[in-house]
Protein backbone atom coordinates (compact mmCIF):
# COMPACT_ATOMS: atom_id res chain seq x y z
CA UNK A 1 0.00 0.00 0.00
CA UNK A 2 2.78 2.34 1.02
CA UNK A 3 4.78 1.41 -2.08
CA UNK A 4 1.75 1.99 -4.27
CA UNK A 5 1.23 5.42 -2.75
CA UNK A 6 4.89 6.28 -3.23
CA UNK A 7 4.92 5.25 -6.90
CA UNK A 8 1.68 7.14 -7.45
CA UNK A 9 3.11 10.34 -6.00
CA UNK A 10 6.48 10.05 -7.70
CA UNK A 11 4.98 9.26 -11.12
CA UNK A 12 2.66 12.22 -10.81
CA UNK A 13 5.55 14.43 -9.80
CA UNK A 14 7.57 13.26 -12.80
CA UNK A 15 4.60 14.02 -15.06
CA UNK A 16 4.29 17.54 -13.68
CA UNK A 17 8.00 18.21 -13.97
CA UNK A 18 8.02 17.03 -17.60
CA UNK A 19 5.21 19.43 -18.37
CA UNK A 20 7.03 22.22 -16.61
CA UNK A 21 10.06 21.52 -18.78
CA UNK A 22 8.07 21.69 -22.01
CA UNK A 23 6.21 24.84 -20.91
CA UNK A 24 2.97 23.61 -22.39
CA UNK A 25 -0.34 25.23 -21.62
CA UNK A 26 -2.29 22.53 -19.80
CA UNK A 27 -5.86 22.85 -18.54
CA UNK A 28 -4.75 23.27 -14.92
CA UNK A 29 -1.56 25.15 -14.26
CA UNK A 30 0.86 22.45 -13.19
CA UNK A 31 3.07 24.83 -11.28
CA UNK A 32 0.03 25.57 -9.19
CA UNK A 33 -0.77 21.88 -8.63
CA UNK A 34 2.83 21.28 -7.59
CA UNK A 35 2.93 24.27 -5.26
CA UNK A 36 -0.43 23.49 -3.69
CA UNK A 37 0.48 19.84 -3.12
CA UNK A 38 3.83 20.78 -1.56
CA UNK A 39 2.03 23.20 0.76
CA UNK A 40 -0.58 20.57 1.58
CA UNK A 41 2.05 17.93 2.44
CA UNK A 42 3.92 20.40 4.66
CA UNK A 43 0.67 21.57 6.25
CA UNK A 44 -0.13 17.96 7.19
CA UNK A 45 3.45 17.36 8.37
CA UNK A 46 3.64 20.31 10.77
CA UNK A 47 0.62 19.35 12.95
CA UNK A 48 1.78 15.73 12.90
CA UNK A 49 5.17 16.77 14.29
CA UNK A 50 3.35 18.88 16.89
CA UNK A 51 1.35 15.81 17.91
CA UNK A 52 4.44 13.61 18.19
CA UNK A 53 5.94 15.88 20.84
CA UNK A 54 3.61 14.32 23.41
CA UNK A 55 6.24 11.55 23.71
CA UNK A 56 8.47 14.08 25.51
CA UNK A 57 6.10 14.26 28.44
CA UNK A 58 4.64 11.65 30.80
CA UNK A 59 3.34 8.75 28.79
CA UNK A 60 0.68 6.91 30.74
CA UNK A 61 -2.32 4.93 29.62
CA UNK A 62 -4.49 6.90 32.03
CA UNK A 63 -6.98 5.22 34.30
CA UNK A 64 -10.63 4.33 34.01
CA UNK A 65 -11.95 7.54 35.51
CA UNK A 66 -9.63 9.70 33.43
CA UNK A 67 -10.56 8.03 30.17
CA UNK A 68 -14.31 8.51 30.59
CA UNK A 69 -16.11 11.01 28.42
CA UNK A 70 -16.71 14.39 30.07
CA UNK A 71 -20.24 14.31 31.45
CA UNK A 72 -20.03 16.97 34.18
CA UNK A 73 -19.09 14.40 36.77
CA UNK A 74 -22.24 12.33 36.40
CA UNK A 75 -21.06 8.75 36.74
CA UNK A 76 -24.00 7.06 35.03
CA UNK A 77 -24.71 9.33 32.14
CA UNK A 78 -28.19 9.75 30.76
CA UNK A 79 -28.74 9.01 27.11
CA UNK A 80 -26.31 8.30 24.33
CA UNK A 81 -23.45 10.41 23.02
CA UNK A 82 -24.41 9.55 19.47
CA UNK A 83 -28.12 10.07 19.95
CA UNK A 84 -30.67 12.05 18.00
CA UNK A 85 -30.61 15.81 17.73
CA UNK A 86 -32.79 18.44 16.20
CA UNK A 87 -33.66 17.93 12.54
CA UNK A 88 -33.31 21.71 11.96
CA UNK A 89 -29.55 21.24 11.74
CA UNK A 90 -29.98 18.96 8.70
CA UNK A 91 -32.46 21.37 7.19
CA UNK A 92 -29.99 24.25 7.36
CA UNK A 93 -27.33 22.05 5.79
CA UNK A 94 -29.64 21.16 2.88
CA UNK A 95 -30.60 24.81 2.33
CA UNK A 96 -26.89 25.65 2.37
CA UNK A 97 -26.18 23.19 -0.46
CA UNK A 98 -28.86 24.90 -2.56
CA UNK A 99 -27.45 28.39 -2.10
CA UNK A 100 -23.81 27.39 -2.33
CA UNK A 101 -24.44 25.91 -5.76
CA UNK A 102 -26.07 29.21 -6.69
CA UNK A 103 -22.96 31.10 -5.59
CA UNK A 104 -20.60 28.86 -7.54
CA UNK A 105 -22.84 29.45 -10.55
CA UNK A 106 -22.63 33.21 -9.97
CA UNK A 107 -18.82 33.41 -9.83
CA UNK A 108 -18.10 33.01 -13.59
CA UNK A 109 -20.94 35.40 -14.35
CA UNK A 110 -19.56 38.02 -11.94
CA UNK A 111 -16.16 37.96 -13.65
CA UNK A 112 -17.66 38.40 -17.13
CA UNK A 113 -20.54 40.70 -16.22
CA UNK A 114 -19.25 43.64 -18.28
CA UNK A 115 -18.87 41.60 -21.48
CA UNK A 116 -22.26 39.94 -21.09
CA UNK A 117 -24.03 43.29 -20.71
CA UNK A 118 -27.78 43.56 -20.28
CA UNK A 119 -28.35 40.03 -21.58
CA UNK A 120 -26.27 38.56 -18.75
CA UNK A 121 -27.93 40.84 -16.21
CA UNK A 122 -31.44 39.74 -17.22
CA UNK A 123 -30.54 36.05 -17.35
CA UNK A 124 -28.84 36.07 -13.96
CA UNK A 125 -31.45 38.27 -12.27
CA UNK A 126 -34.14 35.82 -13.38
CA UNK A 127 -32.12 32.99 -11.85
CA UNK A 128 -31.55 34.96 -8.66
CA UNK A 129 -35.23 35.90 -8.51
CA UNK A 130 -36.18 32.20 -8.64
CA UNK A 131 -33.78 31.40 -5.82
CA UNK A 132 -34.91 34.40 -3.80
CA UNK A 133 -38.50 33.20 -4.10
CA UNK A 134 -37.21 29.85 -2.81
CA UNK A 135 -35.76 31.74 0.14
CA UNK A 136 -39.11 33.42 0.78
CA UNK A 137 -40.78 29.99 0.68
CA UNK A 138 -38.23 28.80 3.24
CA UNK A 139 -39.16 31.75 5.48
CA UNK A 140 -42.86 30.99 4.99
CA UNK A 141 -42.68 27.34 6.06
CA UNK A 142 -40.65 28.54 9.08
CA UNK A 143 -37.74 26.23 8.31
CA UNK A 144 -35.36 28.78 9.82
CA UNK A 145 -37.43 29.54 12.90
CA UNK A 146 -35.89 28.11 16.04
CA UNK A 147 -38.46 27.41 18.76
Amino acid sequence: MKLFFFTFVSSNLRYYIQHLKRREDPRVSLEFVLAASITFILAILLPTIFLLTKNLGPNTKGNRAKNLAYESGVSKSFGDGQGKFNVKFYLVAIIFVLFDVEIIFLFPWAVNVRELGWFGIFEMFTFMFLLASGLIYIYKIKALKWQ
Partner: protein
Amino acid sequence: MGEMAIVIETVIKAITVLAVVAGMAAFATYIERKVLAFMQRRLGPMHVGPHGILQLAADGIKLFTKEDIVPQNSIKPIFKIAPVIAPASAFTAMAAVPFFPEFTLFGYTVHPIIADINVGILFVMGVASVGMYAPLLAGMSSVNKWALLGAARTVIQLLSFEVVTGLSILAPLMMIGSLSLIDINDYQMGGVGSWLAWKQPLAFVLFMIAGFAETNRTPFDLIEVESEVVSGYATDYSGMRWGLFFVGEYANMITVSFLVSIIFLGGYNPIWFIPGGLAILLKISFFIFLFLWVRAAWPHVRPDQLMWLCWKVLMPLALLNILLTGIVLI
Protein backbone atom coordinates in the same frame (compact mmCIF):
# COMPACT_ATOMS: atom_id res chain seq x y z
CA MET B 1 17.90 22.24 -13.13
CA GLY B 2 15.15 24.71 -14.01
CA GLU B 3 12.30 22.57 -12.68
CA MET B 4 14.24 21.57 -9.58
CA ALA B 5 14.74 25.27 -8.80
CA ILE B 6 10.96 25.80 -8.91
CA VAL B 7 10.41 22.90 -6.51
CA ILE B 8 13.09 24.14 -4.10
CA GLU B 9 11.78 27.70 -4.26
CA THR B 10 8.25 26.50 -3.53
CA VAL B 11 9.39 24.37 -0.60
CA ILE B 12 11.33 27.29 0.89
CA LYS B 13 8.35 29.62 0.48
CA ALA B 14 5.93 27.10 1.97
CA ILE B 15 8.17 26.43 4.98
CA THR B 16 8.61 30.16 5.56
CA VAL B 17 4.87 30.82 5.40
CA LEU B 18 4.07 27.90 7.72
CA ALA B 19 6.74 28.89 10.24
CA VAL B 20 5.79 32.57 10.23
CA VAL B 21 2.06 31.87 10.52
CA ALA B 22 2.52 29.29 13.28
CA GLY B 23 4.74 31.80 15.10
CA MET B 24 2.22 34.59 14.60
CA ALA B 25 -0.56 32.31 15.87
CA ALA B 26 1.43 31.60 19.02
CA PHE B 27 2.27 35.26 19.52
CA ALA B 28 -1.36 36.25 18.94
CA THR B 29 -2.37 34.24 22.02
CA TYR B 30 -0.07 36.41 24.15
CA ILE B 31 -1.31 39.61 22.48
CA GLU B 32 -4.90 38.49 23.01
CA ARG B 33 -4.38 37.96 26.73
CA LYS B 34 -2.61 41.31 27.10
CA VAL B 35 -5.15 43.30 25.07
CA LEU B 36 -8.12 41.74 26.84
CA ALA B 37 -6.46 42.38 30.19
CA PHE B 38 -5.79 46.06 29.44
CA MET B 39 -9.35 46.54 28.27
CA GLN B 40 -10.57 45.19 31.60
CA ARG B 41 -8.02 47.26 33.59
CA ARG B 42 -5.92 44.24 34.50
CA LEU B 43 -2.27 43.56 33.77
CA GLY B 44 -2.54 40.13 32.20
CA PRO B 45 0.42 37.74 32.27
CA MET B 46 3.26 39.47 34.17
CA HIS B 47 5.32 36.85 36.00
CA VAL B 48 7.19 34.87 33.34
CA GLY B 49 9.83 37.14 31.87
CA PRO B 50 9.55 40.91 31.35
CA HIS B 51 5.84 41.81 30.98
CA GLY B 52 5.08 38.10 30.79
CA ILE B 53 6.55 37.73 27.30
CA LEU B 54 8.01 34.32 28.12
CA GLN B 55 4.53 33.09 29.00
CA LEU B 56 4.47 32.01 25.35
CA ALA B 57 7.38 29.62 25.84
CA ALA B 58 5.97 28.33 29.12
CA ASP B 59 2.58 27.63 27.55
CA GLY B 60 4.29 26.00 24.60
CA ILE B 61 6.34 23.65 26.73
CA LYS B 62 3.29 22.72 28.77
CA LEU B 63 1.18 22.09 25.67
CA PHE B 64 3.86 20.10 23.85
CA THR B 65 4.64 17.77 26.71
CA LYS B 66 1.13 17.29 28.06
CA GLU B 67 -0.28 13.82 28.49
CA ASP B 68 -2.42 12.68 25.59
CA ILE B 69 -5.85 11.46 26.70
CA VAL B 70 -8.15 9.63 24.30
CA PRO B 71 -11.54 8.85 25.88
CA GLN B 72 -12.30 5.14 25.90
CA ASN B 73 -15.69 5.37 24.18
CA SER B 74 -14.54 7.59 21.33
CA ILE B 75 -14.11 6.40 17.76
CA LYS B 76 -10.34 6.47 18.04
CA PRO B 77 -8.93 6.83 14.49
CA ILE B 78 -11.28 9.70 13.63
CA PHE B 79 -10.79 11.28 17.04
CA LYS B 80 -7.03 11.32 16.43
CA ILE B 81 -7.15 12.59 12.84
CA ALA B 82 -9.77 15.35 13.30
CA PRO B 83 -7.55 18.02 14.94
CA VAL B 84 -4.96 17.78 12.14
CA ILE B 85 -7.57 18.88 9.58
CA ALA B 86 -8.07 22.34 11.11
CA PRO B 87 -4.49 23.70 10.81
CA ALA B 88 -3.81 21.73 7.60
CA SER B 89 -6.70 23.36 5.75
CA ALA B 90 -5.91 26.79 7.20
CA PHE B 91 -2.25 26.56 6.12
CA THR B 92 -3.05 25.14 2.67
CA ALA B 93 -5.49 27.98 2.02
CA MET B 94 -2.56 30.39 2.37
CA ALA B 95 -0.92 28.94 -0.76
CA ALA B 96 -2.88 31.37 -2.96
CA VAL B 97 -2.61 34.50 -0.78
CA PRO B 98 -0.06 37.12 -1.91
CA PHE B 99 1.50 38.36 1.31
CA PHE B 100 3.86 41.12 0.22
CA PRO B 101 4.84 43.09 -2.88
CA GLU B 102 7.61 41.60 -4.99
CA PHE B 103 11.07 42.23 -3.67
CA THR B 104 14.63 41.41 -4.72
CA LEU B 105 16.85 39.23 -2.57
CA PHE B 106 20.48 38.63 -3.62
CA GLY B 107 19.65 39.69 -7.17
CA TYR B 108 16.73 37.27 -7.41
CA THR B 109 13.14 38.53 -7.69
CA VAL B 110 10.91 36.87 -5.10
CA HIS B 111 7.14 36.64 -5.62
CA PRO B 112 5.80 36.21 -2.06
CA ILE B 113 2.95 33.91 -3.12
CA ILE B 114 3.31 30.15 -3.09
CA ALA B 115 0.97 29.38 -6.00
CA ASP B 116 0.05 32.24 -8.30
CA ILE B 117 -3.26 30.99 -9.67
CA ASN B 118 -5.86 32.99 -11.56
CA VAL B 119 -8.76 31.77 -9.37
CA GLY B 120 -6.96 32.54 -6.09
CA ILE B 121 -9.99 33.67 -4.15
CA LEU B 122 -11.99 30.55 -5.03
CA PHE B 123 -9.06 28.40 -3.93
CA VAL B 124 -8.74 30.19 -0.59
CA MET B 125 -12.46 30.00 0.16
CA GLY B 126 -12.76 26.38 -0.96
CA VAL B 127 -9.77 25.06 0.95
CA ALA B 128 -10.49 27.10 4.07
CA SER B 129 -14.01 25.68 4.21
CA VAL B 130 -12.60 22.13 4.29
CA GLY B 131 -11.63 23.07 7.84
CA MET B 132 -15.29 22.57 8.70
CA TYR B 133 -14.66 18.82 8.80
CA ALA B 134 -12.43 19.26 11.86
CA PRO B 135 -15.21 20.30 14.31
CA LEU B 136 -17.71 17.98 12.66
CA LEU B 137 -15.55 14.86 12.90
CA ALA B 138 -14.20 15.84 16.33
CA GLY B 139 -17.67 16.31 17.77
CA MET B 140 -19.13 13.18 16.27
CA SER B 141 -16.22 10.91 17.15
CA SER B 142 -15.94 12.00 20.81
CA VAL B 143 -19.24 10.24 21.67
CA ASN B 144 -20.15 12.97 24.12
CA LYS B 145 -23.34 14.97 24.19
CA TRP B 146 -21.65 18.35 24.64
CA ALA B 147 -19.34 17.62 21.75
CA LEU B 148 -22.17 16.45 19.51
CA LEU B 149 -24.29 19.56 20.14
CA GLY B 150 -21.26 21.81 19.84
CA ALA B 151 -20.29 20.23 16.52
CA ALA B 152 -23.84 20.58 15.14
CA ARG B 153 -23.91 24.26 16.12
CA THR B 154 -20.47 24.97 14.72
CA VAL B 155 -21.25 23.32 11.42
CA ILE B 156 -24.51 25.15 10.78
CA GLN B 157 -22.82 28.41 11.75
CA LEU B 158 -19.94 27.88 9.34
CA LEU B 159 -22.28 26.67 6.57
CA SER B 160 -24.65 29.61 6.89
CA PHE B 161 -21.95 32.23 6.90
CA GLU B 162 -20.18 30.62 3.97
CA VAL B 163 -23.19 31.68 1.88
CA VAL B 164 -22.83 35.26 3.13
CA THR B 165 -19.07 35.28 2.44
CA GLY B 166 -19.60 34.06 -1.11
CA LEU B 167 -22.41 36.50 -1.89
CA SER B 168 -20.72 39.53 -0.34
CA ILE B 169 -17.51 38.96 -2.26
CA LEU B 170 -19.34 38.74 -5.60
CA ALA B 171 -20.04 42.47 -5.86
CA PRO B 172 -16.34 43.54 -5.69
CA LEU B 173 -15.48 40.76 -8.13
CA MET B 174 -18.03 42.13 -10.60
CA MET B 175 -16.23 45.48 -10.50
CA ILE B 176 -12.76 43.99 -10.86
CA GLY B 177 -13.53 41.22 -13.34
CA SER B 178 -10.91 38.79 -12.06
CA LEU B 179 -10.64 36.12 -9.37
CA SER B 180 -6.88 36.51 -8.89
CA LEU B 181 -5.92 38.17 -5.63
CA ILE B 182 -2.99 39.89 -7.34
CA ASP B 183 -5.36 41.48 -9.90
CA ILE B 184 -7.66 42.54 -7.06
CA ASN B 185 -4.70 44.17 -5.34
CA ASP B 186 -3.52 45.89 -8.53
CA TYR B 187 -7.03 47.27 -9.14
CA GLN B 188 -6.59 49.49 -6.06
CA MET B 189 -3.19 50.93 -6.98
CA GLY B 190 -4.28 54.57 -6.94
CA GLY B 191 -3.87 55.24 -3.23
CA VAL B 192 -6.45 55.40 -0.45
CA GLY B 193 -9.15 56.87 -2.70
CA SER B 194 -9.23 53.75 -4.89
CA TRP B 195 -9.81 51.30 -2.05
CA LEU B 196 -12.78 49.04 -2.71
CA ALA B 197 -14.13 49.66 0.80
CA TRP B 198 -15.38 53.09 -0.37
CA LYS B 199 -17.04 51.71 -3.51
CA GLN B 200 -18.48 48.62 -1.81
CA PRO B 201 -19.11 49.59 1.83
CA LEU B 202 -21.98 47.13 2.26
CA ALA B 203 -19.92 44.22 0.89
CA PHE B 204 -17.07 45.22 3.21
CA VAL B 205 -19.27 45.19 6.31
CA LEU B 206 -20.94 41.91 5.29
CA PHE B 207 -17.59 40.27 4.61
CA MET B 208 -16.22 41.41 7.97
CA ILE B 209 -19.25 40.03 9.84
CA ALA B 210 -19.01 36.75 7.93
CA GLY B 211 -15.28 36.66 8.68
CA PHE B 212 -15.96 36.93 12.40
CA ALA B 213 -18.46 34.08 12.14
CA GLU B 214 -16.22 31.87 9.99
CA THR B 215 -13.38 32.12 12.48
CA ASN B 216 -15.73 31.60 15.46
CA ARG B 217 -14.76 34.89 17.06
CA THR B 218 -16.72 36.53 19.79
CA PRO B 219 -20.07 37.85 18.80
CA PHE B 220 -20.54 34.43 17.19
CA ASP B 221 -18.44 32.15 19.39
CA LEU B 222 -21.34 29.81 20.04
CA ILE B 223 -19.10 26.78 20.03
CA GLU B 224 -17.51 27.58 23.36
CA VAL B 225 -20.36 28.98 25.40
CA GLU B 226 -19.43 27.36 28.66
CA SER B 227 -22.85 27.62 30.23
CA GLU B 228 -24.46 25.78 27.32
CA VAL B 229 -22.10 23.34 25.64
CA VAL B 230 -18.98 23.34 27.93
CA SER B 231 -16.42 23.86 25.18
CA GLY B 232 -18.31 22.45 22.24
CA TYR B 233 -16.67 19.97 19.92
CA ALA B 234 -13.35 20.24 21.79
CA THR B 235 -14.78 19.14 25.15
CA ASP B 236 -12.94 15.81 25.19
CA TYR B 237 -9.74 17.14 23.68
CA SER B 238 -6.70 18.10 25.71
CA GLY B 239 -3.02 18.87 25.27
CA MET B 240 -1.65 19.33 21.78
CA ARG B 241 -4.73 17.88 20.08
CA TRP B 242 -6.74 20.75 21.53
CA GLY B 243 -3.86 23.08 20.70
CA LEU B 244 -4.13 22.20 17.01
CA PHE B 245 -7.72 23.47 16.89
CA PHE B 246 -6.41 26.65 18.46
CA VAL B 247 -3.60 27.00 15.89
CA GLY B 248 -6.16 26.45 13.12
CA GLU B 249 -8.44 29.17 14.51
CA TYR B 250 -5.63 31.72 14.74
CA ALA B 251 -4.29 30.80 11.28
CA ASN B 252 -7.80 31.37 9.93
CA MET B 253 -7.92 34.75 11.66
CA ILE B 254 -4.69 35.74 9.93
CA THR B 255 -6.01 34.52 6.56
CA VAL B 256 -9.23 36.51 6.97
CA SER B 257 -7.21 39.61 7.92
CA PHE B 258 -5.10 39.23 4.78
CA LEU B 259 -8.17 38.69 2.60
CA VAL B 260 -9.98 41.75 3.94
CA SER B 261 -6.87 43.91 3.56
CA ILE B 262 -6.23 42.74 0.01
CA ILE B 263 -9.81 42.84 -1.28
CA PHE B 264 -11.16 45.94 0.43
CA LEU B 265 -8.31 48.00 1.86
CA GLY B 266 -5.80 48.26 -0.96
CA GLY B 267 -3.64 45.26 -0.05
CA TYR B 268 0.10 45.80 -0.29
CA ASN B 269 0.01 48.98 -2.34
CA PRO B 270 2.07 51.76 -0.80
CA ILE B 271 0.17 54.56 0.98
CA TRP B 272 1.82 58.00 0.75
CA PHE B 273 5.27 57.44 2.27
CA ILE B 274 4.58 54.00 3.79
CA PRO B 275 6.02 51.18 1.65
CA GLY B 276 3.65 48.38 0.63
CA GLY B 277 5.10 45.64 2.84
CA LEU B 278 4.71 47.76 5.96
CA ALA B 279 1.24 48.94 4.89
CA ILE B 280 -0.19 45.42 4.75
CA LEU B 281 1.45 44.51 8.06
CA LEU B 282 -0.21 47.54 9.67
CA LYS B 283 -3.55 46.57 8.13
CA ILE B 284 -3.51 42.97 9.34
CA SER B 285 -2.30 44.08 12.79
CA PHE B 286 -5.28 46.39 12.93
CA PHE B 287 -7.67 43.60 11.98
CA ILE B 288 -6.24 41.21 14.54
CA PHE B 289 -6.60 43.96 17.13
CA LEU B 290 -10.19 44.47 15.94
CA PHE B 291 -10.90 40.76 16.52
CA LEU B 292 -9.69 41.16 20.12
CA TRP B 293 -11.41 44.50 20.63
CA VAL B 294 -14.77 43.08 19.57
CA ARG B 295 -14.19 40.15 21.90
CA ALA B 296 -13.67 42.52 24.82
CA ALA B 297 -16.60 44.77 23.96
CA TRP B 298 -19.44 42.53 22.81
CA PRO B 299 -21.45 39.72 24.38
CA HIS B 300 -22.16 36.79 22.12
CA VAL B 301 -25.49 36.26 20.40
CA ARG B 302 -27.94 33.39 20.81
CA PRO B 303 -27.96 30.59 18.19
CA ASP B 304 -31.42 31.54 16.92
CA GLN B 305 -30.35 35.19 16.65
CA LEU B 306 -27.35 34.04 14.66
CA MET B 307 -29.53 32.15 12.17
CA TRP B 308 -31.91 35.12 11.96
CA LEU B 309 -28.99 37.46 11.30
CA CYS B 310 -27.50 35.25 8.62
CA TRP B 311 -30.52 34.15 6.60
CA LYS B 312 -32.92 37.05 7.10
CA VAL B 313 -30.66 40.10 7.31
CA LEU B 314 -27.24 39.52 5.79
CA MET B 315 -28.24 37.29 2.90
CA PRO B 316 -31.00 39.51 1.45
CA LEU B 317 -28.65 42.49 1.88
CA ALA B 318 -25.90 40.68 -0.01
CA LEU B 319 -28.31 39.77 -2.84
CA LEU B 320 -29.49 43.38 -2.98
CA ASN B 321 -25.90 44.57 -3.16
CA ILE B 322 -25.24 42.31 -6.15
CA LEU B 323 -28.38 43.59 -7.93
CA LEU B 324 -27.42 47.22 -7.35
CA THR B 325 -23.81 46.68 -8.42
CA GLY B 326 -24.98 44.92 -11.58
CA ILE B 327 -27.37 47.72 -12.54
CA VAL B 328 -24.81 50.45 -11.81
CA LEU B 329 -22.02 48.69 -13.70
CA ILE B 330 -23.86 48.16 -16.97
